[in-house]
């Protein structure tokens, strides 16, 4: 399958600070490619270099076969962009906003068709300011579709949305992909990357740590399961790790502990035994499959969630 994006040894420096440090990857036609990482990892900078909004310090970036440093105009004509901040003009309705942005391109879709696509038809005449957060995000996705692009960039499309609105947006993004478009998105939500992406690049501190499908990344992880429980007594983490044969033992919060293990059956048995012996009352015990969150933790040693 043809590569729609090719990035080789891409670096972006601001003075001495490396925002993006020697990263390479490809995006294939028709896939949803995710860049996952915490705030400040360099996700947005990477995306904006692909969108020809920023000039790379070094490295090669080819988008749809065009070089970003020489063919910015051709690229801009063919890509759809949603920036992190939903950027609208005040005092324009949804319809007018789409018509206006459409006028910037050689060819543009009708605003009514776009509004239909993102289910905003009833809001056609509503001022952009009066939309809810989820509706604004959907409008900005409609703006990204206005020139019928082959390739769409979405920068943290669901940040700040409530779960319901996020779920709606996922369905929308999925539908767009089914329409044959290639999507590259950044996120710091694990569930989002797991649910949407065909492949995920894990990015932290300006570098890409790994690229694979979400399942592939989890499979590579040493620990595939997670055992969580709460205890009425304080347990030493080192001791817990040793007694249960878990790979790691951590506090989650308060009296809640978390164990990562390859063999959940063995770990649980040993945990119960240990609790009995030390007269510890366990509660809320549950096992779960490892998630991208755990993958991220193992790669970077830190949690993705903003503390």
């Amino acid at each position: 399958m043809a590569n729609i994006i090719e990035v080789k040894n891409l670096t972006k420096k601001y003075g001495n600070f490396k925002a993006v440090d020697n990263i390479s990857f490809e995006v294939k036609k028709g896939e949803i490619f995710g860049i996952l990482g915490p705030n400040g990892a360099g996700k947005t900078t990477t995306l904006e270099m692909l969108e020809s909004l920023r000039t790379p310090t070094s490295g090669i970036v080819k988008v749809l076969g065009f070089d970003v440093s020489t063919n910015a105009h051709e690229i801009k004509e063919r890509i759809g962009v949603q920036l992190q901040a939903t950027a609208f003009f005040d005092f324009l309705s949804c319809e007018e906003t789409l018509d206006l942005f459409g006028s910037f391109y050689d060819e543009a879709q009708k605003s009514s068709k776009l509004l239909e696509e993102v289910s905003l038809m009833p809001k056609a005449k509503t001022f952009v300011n009066d939309l809810s957060g989820g509706q604004k995000q959907r409008l900005s996705i409609a703006m990204a579709l206005v020139n019928s692009p082959e390739l769409i960039f979405l920068d943290e499309p669901t940040t700040g949305l409530d779960p319901q609105a996020r779920r709606n947006l996922w369905d929308l993004i999925d539908a767009i992909r089914k329409g044959g478009k290639t999507i590259i998105l950044t996120t710091h939500y694990m569930e989002e990357a797991e649910y949407l992406c065909d492949r995920v690049a894990i990015m932290d501190e300006a570098k890409i740590k790994d690229i694979d499908s979400p399942r592939g990344l989890i499979r590579k992880l040493k620990a595939e399961n997670k055992v969580e429980f709460s205890a009425d007594k304080k347990i030493d983490l080192k001791k817990l790790e040793k007694e249960t044969g878990a790979l790691t033992a951590d506090y989650v919060e308060g009296d809640v502990y978390s164990l990562r293990t390859k063999d959940s059956h063995k770990t649980i048995n040993q945990l119960l035994e240990y609790a009995k012996k030390n007269d510890i009352k366990l509660d809320n015990l549950h096992i779960s499959q490892a998630t991208l969150e755990d993958v991220f933790l193992s790669y970077t040693g830190k949690s993705l969630r903003e503390k």
Partner: protein
């Protein structure tokens, strides 16, 4: 093109813009107009009448009835001394050569052509430090003499003359205020409007979003400038209309000259707004910045009172401000009806400011 229309639409839907660019100046006009109503300031004039003619006496008599003029007749030497001391704005000298027009002889049924009168020059000596006041006086006196001449040669009815004389209290404070307020609102609209507008667009990421489309960035500026100029013209039309209709201001200038000066000055202030938006970090900093620029200009720029009325040490500051030149130029165009050539110095200073601003903006403008 579509962007231009959309931008105009957005601007007109923004009530804040309308408030500052239209209602605020009109409010100021009402406020200051009312404050100075009736209590128009008077101008001290010296009168030296060397002519013994009846015409001259009548003229002096009539001039004394003009409310804004406070006329004293202390003799030539003392008046000139007062002028030098700044106690008089101007001294009017009527030369001995002014004589009464010969009486018309009425022949039976045959109208005689009035005898030719050699025009007599009436000197007005100005105090140069009070040039602006002097100009107002000169205009009043000029109009007065014009009407007087008409009266004297046409119908010798001195009664209507005195009526006319009262009316010829033509240039009132509002005539000073209106051009100043137009200049001020152009400055406010230009600097504040553009600076806030563009900074907000930048802060929200709209500028960046535009850059992500194939639009040529130059078009963005063209659209902004054209929109604001249209707003400026609309502002000026409304203000002139309100000034003339509601406050009895006078518009003697040519519409074309007025439009040219208006557009030119508005552009300079737009560039200022661009500079502000380039230098400001975000919306929170741009507001105090624009205020720091517009507020002093509003009071020092000869909008509400002549620069000459300010303390001497402040006057050089005022004379450096673009608003001073803009209000001066508009004032000359509106109440004196002068040509572009007469106000070339004003326009030149504005041009220099404009170019300086443009260079700064071009160097410092950022899209995000």
């Amino acid at each position: 093109m579509k962007y231009l229309l959309a931008n105009i639409k957005m601007t007109l839907r923004n009530k804040q813009v309308l408030f500052w660019s239209v209602f605020f100046p009109i409010f100021m006009m009402g406020l200051f107009g009312a404050m100075f109503q009736g209590g128009d300031r008077t101008y001290d004039i010296g009168m030296v009448n060397k002519s013994k003619s009846e015409t001259a006496a009548k003229m002096v008599e009539a001039l004394k009835k003009v409310e804004v003029l406070k006329i004293s007749e202390d003799g030539e030497e003392s008046e000139q001394a007062s002028l030098e001391k700044g106690e008089r704005i101007a001294v009017i000298e009527i030369p001995e050569t002014l004589v009464d027009p010969p009486k018309q002889v009425k022949a039976l049924g045959v109208p005689t052509t009035p005898a030719k009168i050699t025009p007599t020059a009436i000197d007005i000596l100005f105090n140069e430090n009070k040039a602006q006041d002097a100009e107002i006086v000169a205009t009043v006196v000029n109009q007065f003499i014009g009407k007087f001449n008409q009266q004297m040669t046409g119908q010798p009815e001195t009664l209507t003359l005195t009526k006319e004389a009262y009316k010829s209290k033509d240039l009132k404070y509002i005539d000073f205020l209106l051009p100043g307020l137009i200049a001020m609102s152009l400055m406010m609209g230009g600097v504040v409007g553009i600076a806030n507008g563009i900074t907000t667009l930048r802060e929200r990421g709209v500028l960046k979003r535009l850059l992500a489309t194939p639009i040529n960035p130059v078009n963005f500026f063209i659209v902004q400038v054209i929109t604001r100029l249209l707003v400026a013209i609309m502002q000026a039309i409304i203000m002139v209309a309100v000034g003339v209709l509601a406050f009895g201001a006078h518009f003697y200038g040519s519409i074309l000259t007025f439009a040219i000066v208006l557009t030119f000055g508005a552009t300079v202030f737009l560039i200022f707004g661009l500079v502000m938006s380039s230098l400001a970090k975000n919306v929170d900093t741009v507001e105090p910045m624009t205020r720091a620029v517009t507020m002093p200009m509003m009071f020092l720029g000869g909008v509400f009172f002549p620069i000459e009325a300010m303390p001497t040490w402040l006057q050089p500051v005022s004379r450096a401000l673009p608003l001073s030149y803009m209000s001066d130029a508009l004032r000359k165009v509106i109440s004196e009806g002068v040509s572009l050539y007469t106000i070339r110095i004003d326009l030149l200073v504005l041009l220099v400011w404009g170019i300086a601003g443009f260079l700064i903006a071009a160097r410092t403008f950022k899209w995000e």
